[in-house]
């Protein structure tokens, strides 16, 4: 609880942000829509620590001994699985939510380090196909811009059931971002609010999804890996159902995952954090004897190599980043502070992706703003960020004695809080216990 200089107490319940939101709602009569991800404090990978090598473990030399990072995705059924050099992929973000230059920059950065990027609602742009060596094509409920030629051009397909920022919700792209090009790609009039459906139009459950996946395999002659992406909620069961439906790869997006435009109430109050989601997905895969056979990609709040290494130690095969990638391109950079101030915000607080006035030229369809982002420079920055994250993850893996990041394991981790111990089923530091386990069984 904070106090002011006169010693007066601020309400914990009705704090300044809450008062601001109530008064905004009363003034505007509309729920708050914004971009970015959940801002509330949640148990996360920061609540885990690596044990590192000791008497019983042998470390690898940091600057000499090899620590591999590659990953193969889609080996279950696809004739042409994807082989990535690093286990950090770029999550689906639409052209529409992002500018064409931003999409190109993501492709360039990902390609430079040998990883994949992903389309989004609205279809595939020639720029991102051209700039991306490995491109995952999303199949969303709206099917905006969906066509079989692009399906065949893709390197993998991702059926999006939900995303972490809004499991159970559809998408929205507000009228101010519907340029002529976006409108044409989506077969809708320019300037209107575009609602993306929350349900797929031609399948309703896992049995139908099995047939849908087979249709996509037939159309692409069984070449492409097929991912199924879910927002983290009932993750244990969703993972099992996705495996049963025939997915090659499961993507689980925790509630910290970003969005281009969603109701604040949805972002902050629906879904579960990434930390328990990883554990639930891995448990489901292990129970089905599918761990490492169906690959698991985890997203939602991945920021650095420690997050990558911890997700992989818990059993993920790879991670995906969205918000971190946009920040690497320049989102929320202090260099735009003057313009942020004019919009009533500040670097570090900017989340108005839906408004389309991003001074960094990333979350906009305004041609002049979009032109501010140099896709080559943006791509270089993203590549640098991805390389740094990979080096960080390798550093941690070597310290734990692993010659491949994938060899990290839960036994390398301890939890610093009861909540994280319970959610991750990782023992509390200095004990062999986590809530729910019998003493001494871990």
């Amino acid at each position: 609880m904070s106090t002011n200089e006169n010693g007066m107490r601020e309400s914990d319940l009705f704090d300044r942000a809450t008062i601001h939101e109530i008064q905004r709602a009363a003034r505007e009569g509309m729920y708050s829509i914004r971009g970015f991800g959940a801002k509330r404090k949640l148990p996360h990978f920061d609540d885990l620590l690596f044990l590192g090598a000791s008497m019983s473990r042998y470390p690898l030399e940091g600057y000499r001994e090899k620590c591999d990072t590659d990953v193969i995705l889609g080996s279950r059924f696809a004739k042409k699985p994807i082989h990535l050099k690093i286990p950090i992929t770029i999550a689906g973000m639409s052209f529409g939510a992002l500018s064409a230059n931003a999409k190109e920059a993501l492709g360039r950065g990902a390609t430079a380090v040998g990883t994949s990027t992903t389309t989004g609602d609205g279809g595939m742009t020639p720029e991102e196909r051209l700039s991306s060596k490995h491109l995952v094509y999303q199949i969303l409920p709206s099917r905006y811009g969906m066509n079989p030629d692009d399906l065949r051009k893709a390197d993998a397909l991702e059926i999006v059931v939900g995303q972490g920022a809004k499991p159970g919700g559809g998408g929205m792209l507000l009228g101010q971002k519907i340029s002529d090009r976006v409108a044409e790609m989506r077969t809708l009039p320019a300037g209107i609010d575009q609602r993306s459906a929350c349900r797929h139009p031609d399948w309703t459950g896992p049995d139908d999804l099995t047939i849908k996946i087979n249709e996509l395999r037939e159309i692409t002659d069984w070449e492409k890996p097929i991912y199924v992406k879910v927002g983290a909620t009932r993750t244990y069961y969703d993972t099992m159902l996705a495996v049963k439906s025939g997915a090659d790869v499961i993507v689980v997006d925790g509630m910290q995952g970003g969005t281009g435009a969603t109701q604040d109430i949805f972002i902050e109050h629906v879904g579960i954090p990434t930390l328990p989601a990883v554990r639930l997905a891995v448990e489901a895969l292990q129970e089905m004897d599918m761990h490492r056979k169906v690959q698991l990609i985890i997203s939602g709040g991945i920021r650095n190599g420690a997050d990558v290494a911890k997700a992989m130690a818990m059993g993920a095969d790879a991670v995906a980043i969205g918000t971190g990638a946009l920040i690497a391109l320049g989102c929320n950079s202090p260099e735009h502070e003057e313009e942020y101030q004019k919009m009533g915000t500040s670097a570090g607080f900017y989340d108005q992706y839906q408004a389309g006035q991003d001074p960094a030229g990333i979350t906009t369809q305004d041609e002049k703003l979009g032109a501010r982002l140099d896709p080559e420079l943006g791509g270089r920055r993203l590549a640098n960020y991805l390389r740094t994250m990979t080096l960080e993850a390798q550093t941690l893996a070597r310290a734990c004695g692993k010659s491949h990041i994938r060899n990290l394991e839960p036994e390398d981790l301890v939890a610093t809080t009861l909540e994280s111990a319970a959610m991750a089923k990782i023992p509390l530091c200095g004990t062999s216990w986590y809530p729910g386990c019998d003493q001494g069984t871990f």
């Binding site: 509309m30 989506r186 209107i192 031609d202």
Partner: protein
């Protein structure tokens, strides 16, 4: 134009689709007859060539899915999502179609001689659909572009949250969905309906008997005063 017959009792679906996906029309036949489909799913999906395919019986889900250029006839009923996301060509169902017929289709013509179940033309993006019988509830939900012509009746919530697609119904409409209204049937609409009926081979239904439905365009941009309409 030679004809090749494929019997799905002794040929795997994968082999059929693989054959249809990799044709050399300078030497391969351009007419295929598929016998004994027996409700199999994903028959003849993802075609790209100007070929003719006759499916002699009932088909399962996603028959002719994402079709480009080909002309297919299903001599029977079909399951969910026939001609889903079709880009071009023609698909004719001689019987009735299950849910989501022509879902998200971008182009081409889908003809259903019987009835089509719920969500016919859902999120259609330019496809033309002609249904000789009736369509189920939530047909043309979020329909963006194209024409849906229904010679029979339409179920509940026709055209819910519709964008710019045009809906024509000769019979009754149980109810209209959010933002869908009846609109004036002008001469150009009579012409559109007449041309689509002709392409569908329907000559005993008068274009003048149709009513037109489309978007009121009141929910295109959010307005708090319309909150009770959503």
């Amino acid at each position: 134009m030679g004809t090749e017959t494929v019997n799905l009792l002794d040929t795997e679906l994968r082999a059929l689709n693989d054959r249809l996906h990799h044709l050399d029309l300078s030497k391969d036949p351009s007419h295929f007859v598929v016998e004994e489909p027996r409700g199999k799913h994903n028959i003849a999906c993802g075609l790209t060539d100007e070929i003719v395919v006759d499916i002699k019986g009932h088909a399962g889900y996603y028959c002719a899915g994402m079709n480009q250029r080909a002309t297919l006839t299903i001599h029977g009923n079909c399951g969910i999502g026939v001609a889903e996301n079709m880009m071009s060509g023609t698909v004719r169902v001689e019987g009735s179609a299950s849910q989501s017929a022509g879902a998200t289709g971008n182009g081409g013509l889908l003809i259903v001689n019987g009835n089509a179940a719920a969500r016919c033309g859902i999120s259609m993006k330019g496809i033309d659909i002609v249904v000789r019988g009736s369509v189920g509830h939530l047909s043309a939900f979020m329909a963006q572009a194209g024409n849906l012509v229904v010679c029979g009746d339409a179920g509940d919530s026709l055209g819910d949250s519709i964008y710019e697609a045009k809906l024509f119904v000769a019979g009754s409409v149980k109810s209209l969905g959010a933002d869908c209204i009846e609109k004036e049937m002008r001469p150009e609409h009579l012409k559109t309906v007449g041309a689509l009926l002709e392409r569908a081979g329907i000559d005993d239904v008068d274009p003048a008997s149709f009513k037109r439905y489309g978007s009121a365009r009141k929910l295109y941009n959010f307005d708090i005063d319309n909150a009770d309409k959503y």
